[in-house]
Amino acid sequence: MTSKLKFLTKISLKRKINTKWFLIANIIFAVLIIGLLNIDTVINFFGGDFDETQIIYVKDNTNKTFDILNAQNDNYKNITNDDENAFKLEKTNQNYEEVFENKKNKEAWYLIINNDTNNYINVKLISEGYISTTSYAGLSTILNNTKTSIAMAESNIDPNELAKISSPLKIDRQILDETKKTEDENMQMIMSTVFPILILPFFALTIFLVQMVGAEINDEKTTRGMEIIISNVSPQTHLFSKVIASNLFVLFQVALLVIYAIIGFVIRNLISPATTNGFDINSFIKPLLESDFVSKFAYIIPFAIILMILTFIAYAILAGILASMTTNTEDFQQMQMPIVIISLIGYYLAMMAGLFEGSIFIKILSFIPFISAILAPSLLVLGQIGIIEVIIAIILLIITIWILLKYGMRIYKVGILNYSSKSLWKKMFKALKG
């Protein structure tokens, strides 16, 4: 029976991988991942500019403001540590028509600074198109600080005092909760961006897995091949072969995604120095390394992997049980809906986990099987739950798998040979009763 299980698993896996759609999907994945990792090169290739630093041409009619403005711009960069909304100031004597005549300056801004008897200075900002609210707010802050500096300088304040007043205030932080570090605040912010990207493949793979198990069982049933299969192997062996094959398929797909990512990075390293500017992957990774990310992830990853594998197994068993009751494609689509909805809920909750601020509601949800695999690691990363809670989620998932096998197998045994046109759910409850 073991050799038959191996054979069925091999056939099932082969049937999935030897398909045109698998090839097409993976070509799309490869192009997408490699493309995203080299998005700056791609944009540059098509004539775009990935340099996020906004150039501002400054015409300083006061002959005293540009240097102060430049110093305030540097201060602003240091305080906000925000390269995306940083500015590069260039002094000019040209008027704005001359500046914008140059095609390279289409995205640049033009700032005119004049003396003002009532307000020290007045400014006029000219651009080709819209300006983002964040950039506008940043420039406004820099200009206001510049005005203050000019005002203080003109008020005959001692230069040393002026330097003290102008220097940014450093806030010394202390958090009383010993488990939390100020550096982790950065990580929280980063994770709120990074985690949806990391869990998206998990969500997509769950859908793949459900599709794979369900479609195969539905196909074997509707073609009546099931009668021949089940007359040679037990329903248990048959279901286990599907569960194992689908999980191996998912692992294989994950491995392929990692390979595409590695290829993307290799390509990036090969072409990056010559063609890219502005966007630096290190600027993304550095805060992660500074923020205790690695040491925290060293224990989060194993838990997340255990949860994800168990969840894949649970989804595969559930999809198999539901698919066993289907007799046509419509039934099969109907069967998929609840699974997709559950998975989708988990995905959105995980994306919004940071908003719940550790509420009991979200903590309870992180225990619930099927969604715990996405939610529990998210909350663990954000420090909203601890290891104990994750272990509880794992135990609950194991219990769920046991219940699915114990009671679901009854449905499966009856379902795979049942072709009655009664409602899907009615048939299921009838089979459950025995």
């Binding site: 029976m1 054979f7 009546r224 091949g225 099931m226 009668e227 021949i228 040679n232 192997v233 037990s234």
Partner: protein, 299 residues
């Protein structure tokens, strides 16, 4: 030997098979007949181990049928049980491996059978691309690829032309000659008549007629008289015990209640002219089937 002993199967409160018993020895071809919904498929499913009887036993050579001996069984279902996206070769390997064969054995046997059934060119074609008849051939090939000790054939001739029916018949007879136990079901009684020495007729899960085909025919009281000549039809119709008279070209077929009526009919016929034929014949299995099932319905 296949032994089916007092099997009963309930689906909830519905009685699908009621206390059915029969035996089939190696080399015998056994007919399991019945109208749609009579319980044939349920009986087949119990024999191959897909369903467990509510009560009763099924044994093959003294062993209860379970997954340890299903490798010795071949099963051809009424509806095509082929995975249509696979090629013929893949399908044969799939079902053959499930029967415990290795790939080399399967491919050797497949080549021989494909040649025998004149479909060698379809080996690497997808099943969905084949005609109904060729799909049926492939299904038959996958059912017998493991040289089964017990072969169950549910409507094996469906979708076949007369030439291919002959091919199938020869193969089935050859397998029986080689000692396989064959259980056969068909709505085409002329096929059953050609093959089966023993049979059982089911209605509502109950055995309503069973035994050796010869004995059944012999014991069956109703007979047919075939007559060619100028006869007085009205006089024959008035004889007590004449069921019906039909005419096919020049030949009259007179159905009678039992053999005692033959003389009465003969006495009328001999008064006619140009009589060239007067034959008393056993009824066909088809007639016995229709009469039996019909009679039981009437009850």
């Amino acid at each position: 030997m296949l032994k089916v002993e007092n099997i009963t199967k309930y689906y909830g409160n519905f009685l699908a098979v009621d206390n059915l018993s029969f035996e089939v020895k190696p080399g015998e071809i056994f007919g399991l007949l019945g109208v749609n919904g009579a319980g044939k498929t349920t009986t087949f499913r119990m024999i191959v181990g897909l369903l467990k009887p509510t009560s009763g036993n099924i044994t093959l050579d003294g062993h209860e049928i379970d997954y340890n001996i299903t490798d010795q069984i071949g099963f051809l279902t009424e509806e095509r049980s082929l995975l249509t996206k696979m090629t013929v070769k893949e399908q044969a390997i799939y079902y053959g491996t499930l029967k415990g064969m290795n790939e080399k054995e399967i491919l050797n046997k497949l080549d021989k059978l494909l040649k025998k059934f004149k479909v060698e060119e379809y080996k690497d074609k997808k099943i969905k691309e084949l005609s109904k008849g060729n799909q049926q051939k492939i299904q038959f090939i996958t059912a017998i690829i493991n040289n089964p000790k017990l072969l169950i054939l549910d409507e094996p001739f469906s979708g076949l032309d007369p030439f291919n029916v002959e091919l199938f018949k020869n193969e089935i007879k050859e397998m029986a000659d080689n000692g396989s136990i064959i259980i056969f079901s068909s709505h085409r009684m002329e096929h059953v008549e050609l093959f089966c020495k023993k049979l059982v007729v089911l209605k509502n899960g109950k055995n309503i007629l069973s035994g050796e085909l010869k004995e059944i025919k012999h014991k069956y009281r109703k007979k047919n008289i075939k007559i060619i000549g100028d006869i007085d039809l009205e006089k024959i119709k008035q004889i007590d015990g004449v069921v019906s008279i039909t005419k096919n070209n020049l030949e009259y077929q007179v159905k009678i209640e039992d053999e005692s009526i033959v003389n009465k009919v003969f006495n009328v016929v001999k008064q006619g002219k140009n009589i060239t034929k007067f034959n008393v014949e056993e009824p066909s299995l088809n007639e016995i089937f229709i009469w039996t099932v019909g009679e039981t319905y009437d009850e």
